[in-house]
Structure formats: C-alpha cells, structure tokens
Symmetry: C3
C-alpha cells in the first residue's frame, strides 16, 4: 500500500486572512488524502479559542494576555487593511457573497476531514491558556511532535 503524503503547517500568526489561507491549504491537502497537521503556536493559538468566556483560574499576567487576545476564529483581525475591525467585516461580507466557507466552517471541515489540529503546549503555558478555553477534538503537543511530523512531510509551511 502506498504511504500517504504528509503535510504540516505551523500557524504562528493570529490573523483572519492567514488563518483562512492555512485552512484552505490544509483542507485542500486533506481532500487529496494527505495526512495534514496544523500546529498552532503563539498568536495562532487564538484561532482555537472558544468564543465564550471560560471561567478558569489565572494569574494577573495570564488574565491580561487572555483579555487582550482575540477569543476565537470569529474575532481575528486582518494582517492588512484591518481598519479597526472594518476590514474583517468586509472580507467576511465578500466571502459570504461568494459562498466561500467562513473560518469556523473551514475549521469544522478540517476536523471532519481528519486534519490534526495541535495546540502548542509551551505557548499555552506562556500565555496562560488552558485546555478548557480551546475548542474540542484537538491535540496537545510540543515542538518535538511537530518536528516528528515535519520530518516525514513533503510540504511544510510556516504561516
């Protein structure tokens, strides 16, 4: 049996446009039967946050980080032309008009297609994010696990 191709994406950035690009590539690769891993680190982790405020015990700095960072895929800004939030609204509007999937839909599709979503535990520690605050059905690992996947993959992107 032929081995399945592997692809990995590190999603470091916490912007809507970059997250959309990451998931479109990931979903495309999964549709071609690649084993795909997205490794969420630093600001990319915000993509995985639940929208609702989850009550967890935190220190002062962790609370500050948690409060300042966008809570989930629907709250991300743009890397360009953000215009204090108008840019994301415009993008979402044109995406809807063109029947393009929204980021939450892209994430759902990725999970249905078996794309492995991995939250970087080291960043979670640093930013004080806890498992309860992130969406369900994701995995937790460190850079070693990412490197293991990447060394076997043909396409490795850092976004």
């Amino acid at each position: 049996m032929a081995e399945r191709e592997k692809s990995t994406i590190v999603l470091f950035s916490g912007e809507l446009d970059k997250a959309i690009a990451a998931f479109i590539i990931a979903n495309g690769a999964a549709a071609y039967d690649h084993d795909v891993t997205i490794f969420f680190t630093f600001w990319g982790l915000n993509t995985l946050r639940k929208e609702e405020l989850v009550p967890v015990k935190k220190g002062f700095l962790e609370k500050m980080f948690g409060g300042m960072m966008p809570r989930g895929a629907n709250k991300l800004g743009l890397s360009k032309m953000n215009f204090a939030g108008m840019g994301p609204k415009m993008i979402k509007h044109v995406m809807k008009k063109h029947n393009a999937l929204t980021l939450p839909q892209l994430i759902e599709l990725a999970q249905e297609q078996g794309v492995k979503l991995v939250a970087c535990t080291m960043t979670m520690d640093l930013l004080g994010l806890q498992k309860e605050e992130l969406i369900d059905d994701i995995e937790y690992a460190g850079v070693a696990a990412y490197l293991g996947d990447a060394a076997e993959a043909k396409v490795n992107l850092f976004i």
Copy 2:
C-alpha cells in the same frame, strides 16, 4: 535524464520587502535549473497588478478593495519601517545605489527564466480582481494546482 528539482513559493504578503525576498529566492532557484512556481494569493496578488488603472466593471465592494490596495510592484509598502512611504523610497534608493534589481526587474527576470507566476483565482474572485488588471504572461489556478506542484517540490515556502 535526471528530473529537475521543483520549488514553490506562496506569496501571501503584499509588501515590497517580502516580494523582493520571494523573487530573489525564485530567481536563484531558477538559475539552478529548478522548476519554480510562485503562487500569488491574498495581498500577494497586488504584486501582479498593472500600474495603470484598467477600466473594468465592478461592484461597490470590489471597487473599494481595488482602490485601497496598491496597484503593482512599484506601489507596495514595507512590512517594517514603512514610515508612510518613506521606507520604500529609502530601500529603492539603496537598491539602486548597489545596482540591485528593482522588483519590476526581478519579475521580468523571473518570467525570462521561466518561473511560473500563478494568480490564485479564488482570491481574485473575493477581491474582485480581473485578468485585465494583472500583468501579462501569468497563469491562473486554484489551491489544488498549487498543492500538485508543492507535493512534487523539495523547497516550499510561504511568504
């Protein structure tokens, strides 16, 4: 006959410095006889816009996007130290002083060397960019075509 090495670059960013980096890497790889593809998506597409205003029929939002985004390789800003346009002027000045190729020259060289420049049709749809507005001798394709190239390439970068 040995198969040619393949390299792909996704140019997502619409900044002068990143576009220059992408084309320097692409031209270098082409000089080593790699088959090189640059896939222009999101803000990266602005690199391929013609400088002159091309009269095409557009909706309101598409016109707004078209008006707000830089028109072509000569109009891009910097990712750092843009200083409302002074930064790009300074970079262009030092590049000229050092006889480095300008971005438009780097693009021309890439086309002469057979680097495949591919505009992402999905982004064109979203941002309302039409073929008439982009430079000549480029290709049009979606993420599937990019993934096909990337799966055969050894060097795949996301810029």
Copy 3:
C-alpha cells in the same frame, strides 16, 4: 552510515516572537541530530547584531538604517501587541517566570548545538551592516548557499 536530516529556516522577520519561534524549532531539530541552518535576511539580520554600538565607517543612509533598526536580540519588538515596547517586556517576564530560555540564551544554545547561523551578505550590503556589528561565530553567504542547503533539506521554513 545514515545521512543526517537537514532543516533550514529563513529568518526574514525582525520580531522577538518570530525569532523565538525560529530558534525553538532550530534547537529542537538540532537536538534530533538534524543539520540546521538559519539564514538571516532583511530584518532578521537584526537578531544577530551586537548590543553595543560598534564604531564603523558608514554613509548617511546606512547610518540611518543602522540607527533605526533594533540592535540585537534583546531589542526586538513583537509582531503583535507590541504596545510601544510593553509587549516584549511582558513576554520576557512570563518566559522568565516559566524558566523558558531567553532569545540570547536560545541563540547561544543553537551555537553550542552546531546550528549554522548565516548572515545574508546581500542584505548586509543593502542595509550597510558590517561584520564587526554582528555577533561572533556566524557565517556569511548569499542566496545561492541557502538554496544549496534547502534543496537537500526536508524541512524548509520561511519565518
């Protein structure tokens, strides 16, 4: 004898968070016995600058660039939530609290592990940076050398 895996990273960005991510991945790969190269280009070069002001002869523009760009790993800003320098302080604070290595320590570890740190000579020329201004025990090369390494590597990232 099995050949060692190779990994390369282009560090284009000059931000603390991205530099930390690059060095964590590089150090991880080196710990797995990969041959790792980080190629510092454009703003990424600032990571390699010495903290002290090194007196070298420069033209006017080169002096301006040199003065405006951060001098070394301790002076980099964040790509997000920089807040005029408060963000980096907060990140450094939580990293210390979690006993995470600082960027200067990550760089030292990389050098101890034999990660090859390469300064892009073309960018040095453009920005007027001279060897005396960069930290010791690094190499100097152009894009051709990078491409040579990347073509043999399995993991190639652009950060």
